[in-house]
């Protein structure tokens, strides 16, 4: 394992990084404003670019959360997509409840798919989701509790490395199979869609879109600050030490299980937030989000950007997804080769990712 997490002194490079981040943040923040300019204006930003950037910001939060688990605690989770999707489903349930009687079937309480499947009343686990605060609580609580249970079981038995990775992958696979079922009460393979409003705002307005965009941006900035605070604290140093030599840290008297558990749960909660912000922006959530391929794609964002550096995770999410968006329209057959090639390239030649490349230049 590398030592990239060693905090640099507040050198010029670090100041440059901070300035770069601030500029990037401001540029992103300007996007919805520029979107309001007339289409002919040279600085106009298209609707497509704004909406896709909003998605990427959510992905960046997911990458950040994964980096906290993998890059700092050494927990390679191949199931972070499950936490993302669970957060998304919690948000989706809230949005479904807000549709109210405006569904196709016009039922006062039940969402369309429940009417269609012959439900008589709302299942108990849907209760409370009409309340925004409760739904937001669930967005973090459901992934958090799942991570707590899974992590507690795994870390306590000292399951590490590839075993843990396979277990997390099996988890998201099992959840995908479960959510595909109609009788689970989560809409089966169609999932949730046709959302109408959030917090009293119709979702199809520019205001709502900009609001969600800014909410995601703020969440990303807050997650970044939180993670950088944590990773630079004493706790963060212990976490990195666990990553590099768990047995040694344990013999030094630290409870590595608790340390890892905290990081894993926090990471799952952040992933849940990312999913919750993602769903109203794309307007749909279905069990496909649980697919193991999604989780592993998130891993490659972090690996490409440079794991063990928070900026790297964000950079990776934006660059890989940018590449994906461009390639899937330019040469759709090529994308999977490029993605597969990225896995090979990064692991063999670029273990520190893009950030490592940039730093290598700077030094």
């Amino acid at each position: 394992m590398s030592a990239t997490a060693t905090p640099l002194p507040a050198s010029r490079a670090r100041l440059g990084l901070r300035a770069g981040l601030l500029v990037a943040l401001l540029l992103l923040a300007a996007m919805p404003v520029l979107n309001q300019l007339p289409v002919t204006h040279p600085l106009h930003v298209s609707d497509f670019l704004v909406s896709i950037t909003g998605k990427w910001i959510c992905y960046a939060i997911l990458a950040l959360s994964l980096d906290l688990a993998w890059g700092y605690a050494g927990i390679l989770s191949l199931g972070h997509g499950a936490f993302f999707a669970l957060g998304g489903y919690a948000m989706g349930m809230h949005l479904m409840r807000l549709i109210g009687p405006r569904g196709v079937y016009g039922h006062p309480v039940l969402p369309d798919f429940m009417v269609f499947l012959g439900y008589r009343e709302l299942p108990w686990y849907w209760l409370g989701f009409d309340n925004f605060a409760f739904a937001m609580l669930m967005v973090v609580l459901v992934p958090g509790v799942l991570a707590l249970v899974l992590g507690w079981l795994a870390f306590r038995s000292r399951i590490t490395g590839v075993y843990l990775s396979i277990i997390t992958q099996a988890m998201t696979y099992a959840l995908m199979l479960a959510f595909f079922r109609n009788d689970m009460g989560f809409g089966g393979n169609n999932g949730f869609t046709d959302f109408k409003e959030l917090l009293g705002q119709p979702l199809n307005t520019d205001t709502a879109r900009a609001g969600l965009f800014y909410a995601s941006l703020i969440a990303l900035a807050a997650s970044f600050l939180l993670c950088s605070r944590i990773t630079r604290s004493k706790y963060g140093r212990v976490l990195t030490a666990i990553r590099d030599g768990e047995n040694r840290v344990r013999f030094l008297g630290y409870n590595t299980t608790h340390h890892k558990l905290f990081a894993f749960v926090l990471s799952a909660m952040l992933a849940g937030v990312a999913g919750a912000l993602y769903v109203p922006q794309v307007g749909i959530i279905n069990p496909g989000e649980f697919s193991p391929a999604n989780s592993i794609e998130a891993v490659i964002w972090v690996a490409v950007g440079g794991r063990g550096t928070l900026v790297g995770a964000i950079l990776g999410a934006f660059s890989v997804n940018g590449l994906k968006t461009w390639l899937t329209s330019a040469a759709p057959d090529l994308w999977l080769f490029v993605l597969g090639g990225l896995f090979v390239l990064v692991t063999l030649f670029l273990p520190k990712g893009l950030i490592g490349l940039l730093k290598g230049r700077g030094a």
Partner: protein
Amino acid sequence: MKHTLLAFLLLLAAALPARAQDAFVAALPGLAGNFNAQAEAVDRLGALADPRAIPVLRALADGRLLKLADNSLVIRDGTATTDVLTGAATEAAGTEVLRINNRVRVALRGALGRLQLVSPDPAERLAAAEAVFRSRSADNVPLLDAALARETVPRIRDRMAIALAASRLLASDPAAKLLGVEALGASSSPEARSVLLEARAANPDILPQIEAAVAAIDRRLAVRRAAETFFQGLSLGSVLLLAALGLAVTFGVMGVINMAHGEFVMLGAYTTFIVQEACRGIPWLLPWSLPLSVPAAFLVAAACGALMERGLIRHLYGRPLETLLMTFGVGMMIQQTVRLVFGAQNREVLSPPWMQGTLMLPFDIPVTQNRLWILAFSLVVLALTVAAIRFTRFGLEMRAVTQKRAIAASMGIRTGRVDALTFAFGSGIAGIAGVALSQIDNVSPNLGTGYIIDSFLVVVFGGVGSLAGTLVGAFGLGLVNKILEPWAGAVLAKVFVLIAAMIFIQRRPRGLFAQKGRAAEA
């Protein structure tokens, strides 16, 4: 004259009881009488269980039964006419079509239905037995008795016996009833069970016997269900074993986590397809394309494996997480290559004739032959793998390298070569698994993805590095899956198994067959 003689001999050969023959001849003139006489004659013919009555009654129903001046009957078939009794061709001149009314038609329908029990066509007899079973009536008992005495096909006999027993249950004679209950109780059909349950209300006097018969059927049905589940579990287990065996070598023995393993399986399946297409030009070779595919698939997958190990994986030894990600990427590229070359749709791999069909085991358990072959095949592959590791020079070197690389190297073993060969060996087994899977699964680019997680679970379940553990793990997972399926559904059963596997790994992180030793993780 010659024809007459022939027909006569045929009649003798049919070896009918003389009484029935007489009755058939005796009933015929009635058909030429008035409507009342016709209906009566039809009923009599219907009760005779004599196959000769079938064409006569059919002809009457279709208006093709003609009457000559002397009241003897002939059947018109197209332009030809034949005598009913002798079967000889006759002149059509001077005939009169026999007409029927509705009453006769109703009688005809019933008689023909019953007569089908003795039809020369087995399918018709089976259908008639079903029909008689459904429209149960005590009147059918003599008819069924007669039909049963003539029947030779075991499957139809069974159906007739059940129909007979069910009809006996409706007789007024208590002894016959008991006979029926007993016969039904000796079967293992769910229908016999429902007949018995229905009969409970009408027959309070023989209730204990009925209950006992139902219980006997239930026992037999339970045994059959259990045996069916068991076989399905074994079948799934054999598939898992094949898919996991290669992984047990690459992951279990070498410790290399290969996420592209499923893609090697898929490559094996496509090799089978290619070999089959190549064999199409040579007809006598086509049934043997599948056995030919086994070495071909092994070589293709092994070559890919060796290439991957030498080119990529060897640079990442000691970094399992990176290996995992890298191999996943390679798998992605292999999958996309196959998708571009062969298309995303399923390719059809035929089963050779000697693998098709269904086998009936005792208790009426249907077993598809190809699943049976795969079960045997998986065990053979396992035995060969064990033998290769235990008894060959290569196996010895492989074990030496995995146990202590430095010592093995100092003894002159070329460890790099052994690594490549071991990985190629494991990948080759994956290719062989692909040959088997091509028989029961769709040959498509994402064939392998469905098996990869299960395979890892099998290896982890069984204990890393233990082939015996892989065997137990595969069949254990297969059986658990199939036992859970009936009451949890296929998908939930899978979820349960995954959860159970997670909990199991908590309890025994080193699997069922943990290797003893003092190796500690770094």
